[in-house]
Each structure stands twice: as C-alpha cells, then as structure tokens.
Symmetry: C2
C-alpha cells in the first residue's frame, strides 16, 4: 500500500523543477483522519482554497483530493495535502497556464491522549517569528521560522515551542495556535503580520464564544502568561491541549481545554467526510 501520491500517482516523485521546492511556492494542510472519516473536511478545504487564493494558485477540486485520499484509503491517519505552483523554469516569473502539483500524504497519527490528560510541556523559543502582513494567516510552504525554532530542542517530552514576534508578543506555537484564558476571557493573537490561522483556531474561537467566553483577538506578552488561568494549544491533529508547564510556569486547570475539545470533536465529526470511495 502506498502512503503518498503526487498528482494522483504512486510511486510518487517530484520534479526538481517544482516551484514548491525552488521557492516554497505553495500551501499545505494537515488534517485528522479517524475511523475512516476526514474530520472537519469542509473547513480544511475552504482554508486550502483561501490560502491558494492569496498566492494565486488554482486549488484542485474537492473531488480530486477525495479521490486521491480514497486511493490511499486510510482509516486512522494524519493526512497532509500540499499544492504547489507546479513545475517551472528558472526564475520567479511563473507560467499561469502551468498546472499545480497536488500532493497527498497519509502518515501515522500520533497518540495525543497522554498530553491531553497530563497537559503539554512547552518551551519558549529564542527564534522570533518574521513579519509579513501579506502572508499572515496563510499556511504556505515558507516555513523556515518553524524549522529554525524546532531545531532549538531535542527533548521528546517537550510538545511544542512558543514563538514570539519582534515586539515580544506571543504569537503561536511551532505546530499550534496558542490561547490564553484569564477569568472568562480567551485571548489569542490576531495574526496580523505573521502566524498561521489554523482550522482548529477557528473552531476554538467559535466554540469558546458559544460557551459564553469572551473571545479577544489581542496580542499579549510573556507577563500575561504569569497571570493566566490556563494556556491552550490547538492544532488539527491534536485538537485542543492544555499546557501544563512552560519553564518555571505551570497551570493545573485543564477543564476549559476538555470542554472545548469535546465540543470541537463533535463538530469535526459532524462535518466529516468518508476517506474511502462511497
């Protein structure tokens, strides 16, 4: 069984002239496949379309993605979808007629249950996020900030690293969005000049508001962490995770993470599609 397709084909190779490789000229999504269902599929597809639109890429149709995924026929997996601007000549100018490259990958889904239960250990990254308002929120293939930040630690018990921008604001984790709870107020960075606006972030904001929390898109610094009642991480594979520890700071109230997670899981399943052909 293959676990990766390029333009629907396996065994999969990519042209060395692919603009994804040359320039990081593309976008991607990672989503959870569980019990043969693609969780929150319509949201992921909408986000992929939106990110493609920012870069001016033709987003492959839903039918194409679903056919590719059905070919891989995963039951429980981390699914990664990538679109690049396809094969190009040397130079930044692109041929608008060149077809995009479509890449589908099904990998093992890590088991997050222990982190869910015990809370995540995180660290503060030294590497600061760069600023580019034109691409803020987009999950594009220019991910050197995350690569550089992730190189800072080897300790496998550290789940994620928190990243600041040049103004010392806490923006996101290397692999997650970050939320701070204080009282009944849930804060997250507005991601106006960097950061990835993930699908789980969108769901957290929706569900938190529905549960009566006051949701604020507002920057906060490290000092705010010391006053936080809870710190939460979200990503599409792990869902919502409570943070237990960051350096000398620790948090013990995981109820809000549990509550949000439960509500989000329900929506993600309701909005799921099957992974296999009908």
């Amino acid at each position: 069984m293959h676990d990766i397709l390029v333009d629907g084909i396996a065994p999969a190779t990519v042209s060395p002239r692919d603009r994804g490789l040359a320039y990081g000229d593309g976008v991607f999504r990672t989503l959870r496949c569980q019990e043969g269902r693609l969780l929150a599929w319509p949201r992921h597809y909408r986000k992929l379309q939106a990110d493609c639109a920012v870069l001016g890429l033709d987003c492959p149709s839903e039918a194409r993605w679903l056919a590719d995924i059905a070919q891989l026929a995963p039951t429980t997996a981390a699914i990664k979808l990538t679109v690049t601007r396809g094969v190009g000549a040397r130079g930044y100018a692109c041929d608008p007629a060149a077809p995009v490259t479509r890449l589908v990958q099904a990998g093992p889904l890590p088991d997050y249950s222990a982190v869910q239960r015990q809370g995540a250990r995180v660290r503060l990254c030294d590497w600061l996020l760069g600023s580019q308002p034109g691409l803020a929120g987009v999950k594009h293939l220019n991910r050197l900030d995350q690569v550089m930040a992730r190189r800072e630690w080897q300790d496998p018990t550290i789940f994620d690293g928190l990243m600041r921008n040049g103004r010392d604001e806490l923006v996101e984790g290397v692999i997650s969005n970050v939320f701070l709870l204080r009282g009944d107020c849930l804060l997250t960075h507005p991601l106006t000049d960097c950061g990835v606006a993930g699908v789980l972030r969108e769901l957290v904001l929706e569900v938190a508001a529905a549960q009566g929390l006051q949701v604020l898109l507002q920057a906060f610094d490290l000092t705010a962490l010391t006053h936080a009642d809870a710190l939460l991480l979200s990503n599409s594979l792990a869902g919502v995770l409570p943070v237990a520890q960051c350096g000398s700071m620790s948090w013990h109230d995981f109820r809000i993470a549990e509550r949000l997670n439960l509500a989000i899981s329900r929506i993600a399943f309701e909005e799921s599609l099957p992974c296999s052909p009908a």
Copy 2:
C-alpha cells in the same frame, strides 16, 4: 545530455518528502558559467557554505559540486546549486543524520547585452518585503516574497521590480541587489532584516571602494531615487546593470555601471574554475 542532477544522478527526481519542498528548508545559488569557466566560484562556494551554516545544513564539498557540474559539462550556462535538508518525516523536527539533497541545474544563460547597453527598465513593486533578521542576507528557499512581487507584472521589457520593506526603504530588486549613486557616494541597503546579500553585491562594494567611491551600507527611500545620479542593479548572471527608467524617473549616466562591471568581470574570471573535468 542532461541538464539537471539530484545527488549526482540523472534523470533527476526529488522525493515528495524532501524538506526543501515541505518547508523551503534549504539554500541556493545561481552563478554564471562562461567559456567553460565558473565565474567567481570561490565566492559562490563560500556564500553557499555561510548560508548552509545559518540553517545548520551540511554543505556538500566543493569536489562534489564540481564533479556534478563537470557531469553536465556546460560551456555557457546559468548554473543553479541547491542544498536542502534532505528527506524527512512529517513534522518540523529534523534528523541531524539525514543526508542533505544536492541539486545542480544548468540552464540557458540569458543575453543581457542589450540591457547592459541601454539600461534596465524597472518598476516599483507593491508587495513589501517581510522582515526576519535571523535570515537576512541568506539566499534560502523561502522565496514567496519574490514570487508574489514577480507576479505583479507581465511586461517582458521590465527587467526587475524594486522592493521596499515595511519602513518604505528600498531594499533590493526581485532578482538583484540595488545601489544608488549620488556624487561619489554609493549607497546600498544594509540588509539587516531582509534581503539577499549576493556575491555580486559583495564584489560591487569591494570594487567601488577600490575605485575611490565612498561606500555606505545605509537605508534610503524613494525620495532618494529622485536625487540619484545613477541607480545600479547587480546579480550574478547579469553582472552590474545601470537602471534607465523606473516609472517617471530616468537616469542616463551609465559610466559607473560600465566601470564597475569591467573590474568585476576581471575578478570573476580571475577567480573562476573550469566546468569540465581537468
């Protein structure tokens, strides 16, 4: 005859799991091959090593690159060298033991003689360069800024687009470094939070100083353009080019570009290596 090698092998394909594709996790160089010589090779190799060091990549040895290039045996070509962090699993964490991917490409060398003679037409890009001091100067594979800026025009008579940062400073061109001459003073942006510090930029600064110009690494804005005696572009394929026109502004004194170009060509040939096996 092949024109591209991956890890010394043709026909060349790249793994869809290559971190160059997944994250733009790599660096590259473009250099001029002329009359069977790799111009300014030691400088290009040093810059490649320096850029690899910033990302923590093992730079392949000079011998490997030269063997690859000799296999392609170009006489006149644009040579592109790429190093990526190699094939990886999903996720930003990298295996330090994984070998890098080495990519060598020989393409047609554009003819720049007309632009050299008549001066380049350039435009001002709307897309602003992002800021990331940690990667400033490095020619890495995260090049979406250049891709987005290059998408702004189709007119083939426009040679390059000038790019500003968020502080309205003129930083560089999409494919070149930019220099402003006023009196005997040559200014170029210090590239402290974005931009590529190209090999030709280094040569321009050296040669200009040797010719008695006062060389300043200093930011300047568009107003400074209107007072400039000359505007110059540099890149490793085209050498030093005078700018003839940018919107309603125009310049007519191309002598400084010619003089710098002549001196730089001499050095680039003196410091060249043969492209073919000895």
